[in-house]
């Protein structure tokens, strides 16, 4: 019987070989697919099994993982100033994440290749893997000031402030906001229904208005038109006089472009400074038509429009609009037609002027440190574009200072600091009250902060040119004060 016994032994060997091959196939080849299966709730538990890194702003923890008693959900996310930083931190929900929580996820949960060394050390010392800490560029004082001031207006809106010399984002506030804690729980049912509620909310609390939404820029765009005009001929300056009729007939149409409220602009022939101070429409409409579409579009691009930017969250594309007729160009030159800008783009325009014509690449992540505090990565400020010459920047700065001192933006004055700015009132199509805009930087001679403020439908029932200046400028002032005064 030994012959058959040996064959049966071979059969047994074959059975074990089959089992081994199959287990290899399952655990080495198919493992990834099985792990990724949506029905595998281990993924869900896995999300909560690692101590994610903290998100820190100016030494203040704004997101952290805290240990729970639950075996399945060991760490849950906590946001100490939930609503204040919601659009910076984002949320960490059972199946998704947003903002920094999403874009820096691999560092926060420790799976990034940059953390390989740390993980290897942990493996040997037997320490559990901890994610890296992400330090954002937000200045807590500026953030708080922007949040409080915007909230006081009772309107929806956004404030974004950047350091013009580096591009670091100092404040990123969008209202209405939400509480990321509610979206970061472990109860899928609760989280999802809350998310649906927020997503359906007409006021769009989940939308980060600073980078996720574009608006007509209104009169703040006149700064760009002015920049193009000065760049076009370097002999032009703040005192160059331009035509400023009460109404500017638009070629090819039977309508004409009036100044705000149909008012006159000085004596009909004014200096550029005066035109900007009063935010007259007619001189800028005329300048735009004179320069032509290409020059206007190029100047806007020179301020960063059209470049895909990740801060690291991706930023909605700003757009000057397609080439149309002269009438349209005149409207676009006062920021009132096809041009759509994110608040970040408008802040970058202010920052470019502040920084002698150089626009820096905006960024939100300052530093990544591992759980032991060793730096893994640090932000390296990077130039984005050369918007205007230093000379033009100087002229623009001088005029923008004048706007705050003598013009529509007097509510943005900060005692002891020279503030530069430009107000804007953007008509929206559907008979809604216009949006109030304000872009600014300060101190004018050594800028530390540049910002853009938009208050949606914030210009209602306020007279004349001062509308943007009335609601948006005081918010800017609060932020400037928070950063500049000790």
């Amino acid at each position: 019987m030994n012959g058959t016994l040996k064959r049966v032994s071979v059969a047994c060997l074959a059975m074990f070989a089959l089992l081994m091959i199959n287990v290899n196939f399952l655990q080495a080849v198919r493992a990834e697919e099985l792990r990724g299966d949506a029905r595998n709730v281990r993924n869900f538990y896995e999300r909560y099994s690692i101590e994610r890194g903290r998100i820190i702003a100016g030494g203040k923890v704004i997101a952290q993982s805290v240990e729970t008693d639950s075996k399945r959900f060991r760490f849950i996310r906590q946001y100490p100033d939930a609503k204040l930083y919601a659009h910076v931190t984002g949320f960490f929900s059972p199946e998704s994440a947003s903002a920094i929580e999403a874009s820096e996820n691999k560092l926060l949960d420790g799976s990034s290749a940059d953390l390989l060394l740390r993980r290897s050390i942990d493996l040997f010392t037997g320490e559990p893997t901890k994610g890296a800490n992400v330090e954002v560029t937000i200045n807590p004082k500026a953030q708080k000031a922007a949040y409080d001031a915007l909230r006081q207006s009772g309107k929806r809106g956004a404030v974004i402030a950047i350091d013009p010399k580096t591009g670091a984002i100092l404040a990123m506030v969008s209202l209405p906001t939400y509480d990321p804690t509610e979206l970061s729980g472990t109860d899928k049912g609760k989280v999802f229904s809350r998310y649906d509620e927020l997503a359906k909310d007409k006021s769009q609390p989940l939308l980060n208005r600073t980078i996720g939404q574009t608006y007509p820029p209104g009169s703040t765009f006149k700064v760009v038109t002015m920049a193009a005009y000065l760049e076009d001929d370097s002999s032009r300056g703040p005192d160059t006089t331009v035509d400023a009729p009460q109404n500017l007939p638009l070629p090819g149409t039977n309508i004409s472009l009036p100044n705000y409220g149909g008012a006159a602009c000085g004596s009909g022939s004014v200096t550029l400074t005066y035109a900007l101070e009063r935010s007259c429409n007619t001189p800028f409409g005329k300048i735009g038509m004179e320069l032509g579409y290409d020059k206007m579009n190029e100047q806007t691009e020179a301020f960063g429009m059209g470049t895909q930017i990740g801060v690291p969250m991706s930023v909605a594309q700003s757009d000057f609009g397609k080439e149309e007729d002269k009438a349209a160009l005149a409207m676009a030159s006062i920021g009132q037609r096809s041009n759509r800008m994110t608040p970040l783009q408008m802040a970058m325009i202010a920052a470019g002027i502040a920084n002698n014509g150089t626009v820096m690449k905006p960024y939100l992540v300052n530093k990544i440190t591992d759980a032991k505090g060793d730096t893994i990565d640090e932000a390296d400020p990077d130039q984005l574009t050369d918007a205007v010459s230093e000379e033009t920047a100087g002229k623009l700065r001088q005029m923008m200072v004048s706007v705050v001192q003598n013009g529509t933006a007097n509510l943005a004055q900060v005692p002891g600091v020279q503030v530069a700015g430009k107000t804007g009132t953007a008509e929206t199509a559907d008979g809604q009250p216009p949006h109030a805009w304000f872009i600014s930087f300060a101190p004018a001679d050594d800028p530390k902060i540049a910002l853009a403020v938009i208050v949606e439908s914030g210009a209602a029932n306020v007279g004349a040119e001062a509308t943007g200046g009335h609601t948006a400028a005081p918010i800017a002032k609060a932020v400037l004060e928070a950063v500049l005064t000790k």
Binding site: L5, S9, C12, L19
Partner: protein, 460 residues
């Protein structure tokens, strides 16, 4: 005798010390695994670790001493292998219990392990010569059938758990008689086939290229076997019927040395499986699920769906190559991960590495059994130990293959690992029988004592 002397005969050694060292190593590995679970789950070495470890060590020391006394020539590797597999099973059950898996109880499993070793010892002490089992051929067959049939005739309240009617439940106490029936039937097959192997191999008509046996030779065994399959199908115990079927085919092949038996067996199997698939919807479903376990239709089905197998596969995937580490996965998500699916739970926490080692342990155990069979000196011993070794291999193949979706899933216990007293007791008796046959096979043949003239003294 001269022939024996001429060929280089491997003289077996007792190797009792090596066995003791390996046993100690097995117990140490198990204790290490206990500590690992405790550290991962509670952050400290479990309080009961020493008790469990000493308990297991003590139990195995008893097994070792009984083996050394009553079967000194037995293969030294068998007991340490079983100890390690049994110990890893205990650790997995302890780990699942710590994850609040209802039904997992390490304490009861260690009690059953103790009882299993007692059965092991009793078998070795009582059964001094396994060849006496040959005289009990038909008795064993009858016992096997009765054991199998009891749950079928008992009312459901006393015999049914979760759809499988394979229990005898009296009060809080329950056993699965089928586990013991397997052993009795292997003894019956071995005894019967040894007696009839010549007629089965030679007599009969030749049809095409297959030699058909005479009905009267095949009658008793076919009847017994058919009856057991019927009973098992009635009890919805597909795993055990497949187990017995395969073991029988293997044994008849070993006995008669005819490939035609394997072919007949395969044909019968395919036909039977097809009929079963038509007659019983749950059999057909198993097949469909095997082909496409991930489909939403099966996955979402309340009863008899693929939820369990998919959870098992997710477990394997989560484990990957190195595993999550003991106590750090989520094997509690796999239904029945302490019994039918303990291999999946082990795969999740010990990974491919651990499973390869575990499969290797089983393969070695089977190999020791087959080697015993090759070395055995009489046909009954050969057939008995060969049958038992194949039973073990085939059982591992069916359950592990089922859990890993290599073959359709049929419920069976993973030998020595799954929670369950009956299986543990029966498998320890199986090991005792292997040890007994191995002792007989490796015992040096009686030597002629020199200078005693023609007198030969046999030693037992």
């Amino acid at each position: 005798m001269s022939e024996v002397a001429a060929s280089p005969v491997l003289m077996p050694a007792k190797r009792r010390l090596a066995q003791l060292v390996m046993l100690a190593l097995a117990v140490l590995i198990v204790m290490g695994a206990y500590a690992n679970v405790g550290l991962a789950v509670d952050g400290r070495v479990p309080a009961g670790m020493l008790a469990y470890g000493l308990g297991l060590g003590g139990i195995m020391l008893v097994a070792y001493l009984v083996l050394a006394k009553f079967a000194p020539w037995a293969d030294p590797l068998i007991l340490p292998l079983v100890t390690l597999i049994n110990g890893l099973g205990l650790v997995m059950i302890y780990r699942l219990e710590s994850a609040k898996m209802p039904g997992a109880s390490a304490a009861s499993q260690i009690m059953w392990t103790g009882l299993g070793v007692v059965m092991f010892a009793v078998t070795l002490v009582v059964l001094r010569d396994h060849r006496m089992l040959q005289r009990l051929t038909y008795t064993a067959g009858a016992i096997g059938l009765v054991l199998l049939a009891i749950p079928a005739v008992l009312p459901g309240s006393l015999s049914e758990v979760q759809g499988a009617k394979i229990w005898i439940r009296i009060g809080g106490f329950s056993i699965q008689p089928g586990e013991f029936a397997k052993l009795a039937l292997v003894v019956f097959f071995a005894g019967y086939l040894v007696a009839k192997r010549d007629v089965l191999a030679l007599a009969g008509r030749r049809l095409l290229f297959i030699d058909l046996p005479r009905a009267r030779d095949l009658g008793p065994v076919l009847a017994t076997w058919g009856l057991s399959l019927l009973v098992l199908v009635f009890e919805k115990d597909l795993g055990t019927s497949l187990l017995l079927f395969g073991t029988f085919i293997a044994m008849i092949y070993i006995a008669t040395q005819r490939t035609s038996w394997v072919l007949i067996g395969l044909l019968l199997f395919v036909g039977g499986a097809y009929l079963a698939g038509l007659a019983f919807s749950h059999v057909g479903d198993r097949f469909e699920i095997w082909l496409n376990p991930g489909s939403a239709e099966f996955y979402d089905r309340e009863i008899g769906g693929s939820y369990q197998i998919m959870q098992g596969l997710f477990g394997f995937g989560a484990g990957g190559i190195l595993g999550t580490g003991l106590g750090q996965g989520h094997p509690e998500l796999i239904p029945l991960s302490f019994s039918d699916f303990i291999f999946a739970a082990t795969g999740e926490e010990l990974g491919l590495t651990g499973l390869m080692a575990l499969l290797m342990l089983y393969a070695l155990l089977v190999e020791r059994g087959l080697r015993t069979s090759l070395a055995a000196r009489d046909p009954f011993s050969k057939l008995l130990s060969g049958g038992l070794a194949f039973l073990l291999a085939w059982q591992v193949f069916i359950i592990v293959g089922g859990v890993t979706n290599l073959i359709p899933l049929t419920g069976l216990v993973t030998p020595f690992m799954s929670q369950g007293g009956s299986a543990l007791l029966a498998n320890w008796i199986l090991i005792a029988l292997l040890v007994r046959t191995s002792d007989a096979a490796r015992r040096p043949p009686p030597q002629a004592i020199q200078n005693e003239g023609l007198t030969q003294v046999f030693q037992r």
